[in-house]
Amino acid sequence: MASEPAGPTPATAGNDEDPLLSVRDLEKYFYEGGGLVDRLLGGEETAVRAVDGVSFDVRQGETLGLVGESGCGKSTTGEALLRLVEPTGGTVTFDGDSVRGMEDLTPFRRRAQVVFQDPFSSLDPRMTVEQILREPLEIHGVGTPADRRDRAAELMDRVGLSADQLERYPHEFSGGQRQRIGVARALALEPDFLVLDEPTSALDVSVQAQVLNLLSELQADLGLTYLFISHDLSVIRYICDRVAVMYLGEIVEIAPTEDLFEDPQHPYTEALLESVPRADTSERERDVEPLAGDVPSPRDPPSGCRFRTRCPSVIPPPDVSLSQPQYRAVMDLRRLVETRQIGVHGAREAAGSDAGDAEVAAALADRLLEVDLPAEDASLVRDALADVVGGEWDAAAQSLRNRYESVCETDHPTGERATCHLLDSA
């Protein structure tokens, strides 16, 4: 593999234990628009880069958290490393063996199990709980029928339910109880490793706390290793030993839980922590500066640092002396120019029929820039907008790029713990 590492290299310092699971440059691209009809119509296949070069280790007996917003690729990472979906690149090593090289997945499946988010759709409504719990044992040919029955009863007891309830159907249980059944099913084959994919997101807080405590107990008693996927930062803090933060298909920061929460290094981690409203009476006084904008599409992720389109601290070129809001405003304008999303027509109409290009450009600058710029920059921006009004989009984009291009868009950041150019000099 000669490609440069896309994500941070896993923090291996101070760790001499062998990882149970080791993921390197894992990639899962989904292709769309490549069907027969699309090809007949001349459409081109585009890659949705759900997971794009993710690397981390999960050590024996620990809980690694994978946290991020919807669409960041955390669940796909969990599925790809278990080969529930086939990865399109990278390596996964489980206890010394390459998972991607396995012809027969059965022995791996016995040792690596998964608990899904939705306890309603992940249990077959036509099977009794006993059938649900016995099914993995039957598939893997474990024990005699009598053994399996005993094992099912034992599992129920293990997750805080009663063996008397084995004959019941899933709909007779509450959400929290159903999630316990999901955990029991995952434990049936005595696995070493569990992927917990948002296991408490569908539950109410009081029940979530019960399930979290159950998961901690099981880990302590059975020596389990967890990959805990969640969007809920307070749950992650509670249950994880180490945490990886994902954004748009990449890991942007990975660190021991305490370090990550007490001293976040990546601006995205910091923003994420700041965004969560605290259940505390001092919350109203807490000053929150919400992140601007939305997560970009994984079909066409930003160049360089993927977070740069929302980052509150994009690094300007050394010869540009603008405040962060000014620089941000110019960069937003640049994006509009590059994607040709400025309504020149409307601006011309608004300016009146006898207005010249320069006047229209000045009006556009007023409308699109919400901050005042120093004279030199203001005139450069106005000139570029005059090009836009004259239809010279590329020239406008070029002149703005020459002046304002940031290291955050030209270079993909790397780092041991957090991938951010702000940390490069330090």
């Binding site: 109410d204 706390a209 969560v276 409203p277 605290r278 259940a279 109203r284 929150v288």
Partner: protein, 389 residues
């Protein structure tokens, strides 16, 4: 203290299903003052959304508001209905449960408007965002001109409306002034480039942007009370922070009275002046934010707060509430404190429904639990496993 704008007394909403009667909301009392943000917090099935729907007469069959009063202060409305429905009027207050559905419908928009949880399913996918907001503006405009015509085109997908829509472009329904106002509203809720975005369809908006558009739509009628039912639950945290910020700004600018319903204690803490905690269709505790968060008396409130993992400190073990939310089926409900079966301090007297007690020192703090009246008596504790049989 500001004047109450809404006084809800004894509100009871039941669902008469084939499987039996469900007591979704049971004798709920609360007051919302003008200009404040009142929060209702509770877990799924606690009745918080049904409470909101009851206020705006949107409880669907087999549900029915069976009892209580919804006293809404509006002098104009009081004057308008005084002749036909004298029983409903008390000074400037009107009891909404005693006026006909036609009048209540006309209140949706100018008096009460709602933001729902899921912006994707609350918008009509086949109309542009601008049209839908302009339509809300238009409906209000026509309603104030002619109170009988309050139908909006988004209400029906029938053959009739399809044919009308095919013949007459939707713009015919909406005046240019309404469209302009829609763009203005989109700008006010922080949508960049509102003129262009107004021409786009809901699927072209991200979740956060669409929720902003829904807020714009809710503001179209300049409502007295904004009801926000889990407004950020479907959104990611960074987007949630944007929307909460936006709501707080609008609230501060317009002094808009807001009823915020959520299961998220953090959202409550960020937004609300006063809070009510619901459990099994009832308010178990209510008071100012500090009363409920810093001095909770009801064991359920305490349990709820103890169940949330702390983001700012590496905590010890969580203290979950054991057991599950009770069934709300009438036949399975005794006349006791509904929390007693999960309560760590259940006593013999809890087998009789507790009244609401005040809490000394906090005039606004009410708790439906005997522990607000006297201390826990271990000798009177219910034996372990009392409710298991």
């Amino acid at each position: 203290m500001a004047d109450p704008l809404l006084e809800v007394r004894d509100l009871t909403t039941r669902f008469f299903t084939e499987g039996g009667q469900i007591n979704a909301v049971e004798s709920v009392d609360f007051t919302v003052d003008e200009g404040e943000v009142f929060g209702i917090v509770g877990e799924s099935g606690s009745g918080k959304s049904v409470t909101a729907l009851s206020l705006i007469d949107l409880v669907e069959s087999p549900g029915e508001v069976t009892d209580g009063q919804i006293r809404y202060r509006n002098a104009d409305l009081a004057a308008a209905v005084a002749d036909d429905h004298p029983a409903a009027v008390d000074g400037d207050f009107v009891d909404l449960l005693q006026v006909p559905p036609r009048i209540r419908r006309s209140l949706r928009g100018p008096s009460f408007s709602t933001i729902f949880q899921d912006p994707m399913s609350s918008m009509n996918p086949s109309l542009t965002v601008g049209e839908q907001i302009a339509e809300a503006v238009e409906v209000q405009r026509r309603a104030s001109a002619n109170p009988r015509s309050t139908r909006s085109r988004t209400q029906g997908f029938g053959l009739g409306s399809f044919l009308t829509g095919a013949v007459i472009g939707s713009r015919e329904f909406v005046s240019a002034a309404s469209h302009e106002r829609a763009v203005e509203l989109l700008e006010q809720v922080g949508i960049p480039d509102p003129e262009d975005r107004a021409e786009e369809y809901p699927h072209q908006f991200s979740g956060g942007m669409l929720q902003r558009a829904m807020i714009a739509q809710a503001l179209a009628g300049e409502p007295d009370v904004l009801i926000a039912d889990e407004p950020t639950t479907a959104l990611d945290v960074t987007i949630q922070a944007q929307i909460l910020d936006q709501l707080a700004d609008l609230q501060a600018e317009r002094g808009m009275t807001t009823l915020l319903i959520t299961h998220n204690l953090g959202v409550i803490a960020r937004m609300c002046d006063r809070v009510g905690v619901m459990y099994a269709g009832e308010f178990v505790e209510r008071g100012t934010l500090a009363d409920v968060f810093d001095r909770p008396v009801h064991p359920y409130t305490q349990g709820l707060i103890g169940s949330v993992p702390d983001l700012d400190a590496a905590g010890g073990r969580l203290q979950p509430i054991p057991g599950n939310v009770p069934s709300l089926r009438d036949e399975e409900m005794d006349d006791r404190c509904y929390f007693a079966d999960r309560c760590p301090k259940a006593m013999e007297e809890c087998l009789e429904k507790p009244p609401e007690f005040g809490v000394e020192g906090s005039p606004d703090h009410g708790v439906t639990c005997y522990l607000a009246d006297h201390d826990y008596d271990p000798d009177a504790a219910l034996p372990e496993g009392y409710f298991d049989g």
